[in-house]
C-alpha cells in the first residue's frame, strides 16, 4: 500500500467515524422518547384512553366565564372600541400563541440544527479533503473575472447581509446565548441596539438585492451542461466537468439567494413598517417567512463563503481584485475561459490587455 493510499484509507476511516458520531449525536436525544413509547405500548396495547374528568365543584366560578371569553378559547372575538385602527377591537389574538410556539419550538431549534449541520459538514469536508488545489498550479497569467462595479455590488450586499444576519441572530438566539454571558439587563440593551440597527439597515438590503440581481442575472440562466455538472457534483465525484462563467452550483446559489433575499426584504418591510394596515396574523406570517428565509440563507451562505475562500485555491482573488489565474479559469470554468482567453495578462509584467492585477494603473484603466 502506497503512502497516498494509506492517507486515503485514513481519510475514509475518519469520514466514516465522523458520520457514525454525527448519527449517534442525532439519534441519542430520541432514545428517551423511544423508551417511553415502548413502555406505553406495553402497558396499554389497546391504546390510551384519557380518564374522564369530573368537575368536583358543582357551582362554576363566576370569573371563569369572563376569563373564558377573554382568552377566546372558543374562537376569536372582535369587540367595540372608540380607538380606530387595525385590530383595535381584539383583546387577545389567539394566533399570536401559534406564532410564539412556532418561533420557540420550530424556528429556534431547527434553525440552529440546519446552520450547525452545514457548518459541521463544511468542517468535516475541509479536514478530510482540505483546500482544493489548482491543477497545474498558478500560471502567472491573470484574467479579469469581475469588474469593479460587480465587486462593489457584491461587497455592498455582503456588508449589509452580515450586519443584518448578526443582529438578526442575536435577536433570535440571544436569550439562549447572551443572557448567561451578559445578564438580563445586558442582553436587553444589546437586543434593543440590534433591533434598531436591523430595522435601519433592512430597507437598504432591498436596494442591494436589486443591484445584485440586475448585475448578475444575465449569466445565471440554465445552460447546456449544467445538469451534467450537477450529476457529477461539480467534479467532486471525479473527472472534469465543463462550465461557463457560472457553474450550476453558483447558479442555484444565485437564484436561491434572489428568492430568499427578496422574501426577506418584503417580509422585513412588512415587519419594519407596522403602520401600513396589516393585522397581527399577517405580521406573524411575515415573521415566519422572514425567519425561515434568513436561517436558510445564512446556512447556505456558509458553503458559498467556504468555496470562495478556504475551499478552493485561487477563488478569492476574483472578488478581491477582480482577477483569476488562467489555470483556475481553465480548470473551473473552461467554457468561459474559451470566450475570454485572449484577454489574459501577465501578472508580473502587466503585458497584454494592459494590466497589473495586484493593482496598477493599467488595471485601473480597465476597471473604471
Amino acid at each position: 500500500m502506497t503512502r497516498t493510499d494509506k492517507r486515503r484509507h485514513r481519510m475514509r476511516k475518519m469520514l466514516a467515524w465522523s458520520g457514525y458520531t454525527l448519527l449517534l449525536v442525532l439519534l441519542l436525544p430520541l432514545l428517551p422518547y423511544a423508551i417511553q413509547a415502548a413502555n406505553d405500548t406495553q402497558n396499554n396495547p389497546a391504546g390510551y384512553t384519557p380518564p374522564t374528568v369530573v368537575n368536583p365543584i358543582e357551582v362554576p366560578s363566576p370569573g371563569a366565564e369572563l376569563w373564558r371569553e377573554v382568552r377566546q378559547r372558543d374562537g376569536s372575538y372582535v369587540g367595540d372600541t372608540q380607538v380606530k385602527g387595525v385590530e383595535t377591537g381584539v383583546l387577545i389574538n389567539k394566533a399570536g400563541e401559534d406564532w410564539r410556539l412556532f418561533r420557540m419550538q420550530m424556528l429556534v431549534p431547527y434553525g440552529a440544527i440546519l446552520m450547525g449541520a452545514i457548518l459541521g459538514a463544511i468542517l468535516v469536508f475541509y479536514f478530510t479533503r482540505g483546500t482544493l488545489r489548482l491543477a497545474g498550479g498558478f500560471s502567472g497569467k491573470k484574467i479579469l473575472r469581475f469588474t469593479l462595479s460587480e465587486r462593489m455590488v457584491h461587497w455592498f450586499t455582503v456588508a449589509l447581509f452580515w450586519l443584518l444576519a448578526v443582529t438578526g441572530l442575536i435577536l433570535l438566539y440571544g436569550r439562549f446565548v447572551l443572557i448567561p454571558l451578559l445578564g438580563l439587563e445586558g442582553f436587553s440593551v444589546t437586543a434593543s441596539a440590534c433591533k434598531e440597527a436591523h430595522n435601519l439597515f433592512g430597507p437598504l438590503f432591498l436596494f442591494a438585492m436589486l443591484a445584485l440581481f440586475i448585475t448578475f442575472f444575465k449569466d445565471n440562466f440554465y445552460a447546456r451542461g449544467d445538469l451534467k455538472w450537477l450529476s457529477k457534483a461539480g467534479g467532486l465525484l471525479g473527472g472534469h466537468v465543463s462550465a461557463g462563467r457560472f457553474n450550476a452550483g453558483e447558479k442555484i446559489w444565485f437564484w436561491l439567494a434572489t428568492l430568499l433575499g427578496f422574501a426577506l426584504c418584503i417580509t422585513g418591510l412588512i415587519l419594519d413598517f407596522a403602520v401600513v394596515g396589516l393585522g397581527r396574523e399577517a405580521m406573524a406570517l411575515s415573521h415566519v417567512i422572514h425567519g425561515i428565509s434568513a436561517v436558510i440563507m445564512i446556512a447556505v451562505s456558509f458553503g458559498h463563503i467556504y468555496l470562495g475562500t478556504a475551499g478552493m485555491e485561487g477563488s478569492f482573488s476574483s472578488m478581491a481584485n477582480g482577477y483569476v489565474d488562467e489555470n483556475w479559469a481553465k480548470s473551473h470554468h473552461d467554457l468561459w475561459y474559451e470566450e475570454v482567453k485572449g484577454t489574459a495578462i501577465d501578472a508580473q509584467e502587466g503585458k497584454q490587455g494592459g494590466g497589473v492585477p495586484s493593482g496598477g494603473v493599467a488595471q485601473a484603466r480597465r476597471d473604471i
Binding site: E196, G359, I368
Partner: protein, 213 residues
C-alpha cells in the same frame, strides 16, 4: 460611574483637544503663507479662489462618467451626515441644553430613518470604492480607513441609541463621538474644515496665472 466620566471629564477633554487641535492645524497651514509671485497677475486671486470653491462641487464634464459613483456616494454621505448632525431631535436637544441654549425644529422620525440610510449607503460605497479600486487602494493610508471606521461607528451607535431607551447606548454613542473628536484634528477628517482654504489657494494660484482651475 462610566456614564459620569463619559458625560463629564472625557467630554471636556475631547472638546478641548478638538478645538485646540483644529486651531493648531489652521494656524500651521496659514503660517506657511503664500509664495511671493513676481509675475504680472493675469487675473484676480480672490475671484479665482471663490470660483474654484464653488466649481469643485460639480465634477468636470470630461471625467464625470468615470467618477459618477464616487460623486453620488460622496453627496449621499456628506449631505446625509450634515442633515443628521443638524436636524436629528436628540442633537438639537443636546445643543439646546448643553451648548447653545436655543434649539430649532427637528426632522420627523421617518425622515431620520431615510436620511440615515442614505448616509450609511454613501459611506459604505465610498469605503468599498477605496478598498476595491486599485488606484484609490494604493493612495489610501491607514488614517483614511480609521477615519471611515470611526465615522461609521459614530453613526451606528447613534442609530442604535435613537430611542434613548437605555443610558448605556447613549453613553456608547457619546464615547464614540469623543473618540472621533480627539482623532479629528490629526487626521484626514480635517478636510471638513480645510477644504475651503485648499480649494481657495488652488483657485487663486491658477487664477493669477490666467488659468481657469
Amino acid at each position: 460611574m462610566i456614564a459620569q466620566l463619559v458625560d463629564g471629564v472625557f467630554w471636556n477633554i475631547a472638546v478641548a483637544i478638538f478645538l485646540l487641535g483644529i486651531a493648531w492645524r489652521i494656524f500651521a497651514v496659514f503660517r506657511h503663507g503664500a509664495r511671493q509671485d513676481l509675475a504680472e497677475p493675469r487675473g484676480s486671486a480672490a475671484s479665482g479662489a471663490i470660483h474654484t470653491n464653488w466649481s469643485r462641487f460639480i465634477p468636470r464634464r470630461e471625467i464625470v462618467a468615470k467618477i459618477n459613483l464616487h460623486v453620488i456616494a460622496g453627496y449621499m454621505f456628506h449631505l446625509g451626515l450634515f442633515i443628521l448632525l443638524l436636524f436629528a431631535a436628540p442633537h438639537i436637544k443636546f445643543a439646546q441644553d448643553h451648548v447653545l441654549g436655543f434649539g430649532w425644529p427637528a426632522m420627523p422620525h421617518w425622515a431620520f430613518v431615510v436620511v440615515s440610510q442614505i448616509a450609511f449607503a454613501g459611506l459604505l460605497l465610498l469605503w468599498l470604492q477605496r478598498v476595491l479600486h486599485p488606484v484609490t487602494r494604493l493612495i489610501s493610508r491607514a488614517d483614511d480607513h480609521i477615519s471611515t471606521i470611526l465615522v461609521f461607528v459614530v453613526m451606528l451607535t447613534g442609530c442604535m441609541a435613537l430611542f434613548e431607551s437605555y443610558t448605556g447606548l447613549r453613553v456608547l454613542h457619546r464615547f464614540s463621538v469623543e473618540l472621533f473628536m480627539i482623532y479629528f484634528p490629526f487626521s484626514s477628517l480635517m478636510h471638513a474644515i480645510l477644504f475651503a482654504s485648499s480649494r481657495g489657494y488652488t483657485g487663486a494660484f491658477f487664477s493669477v496665472r490666467g488659468v481657469k482651475a
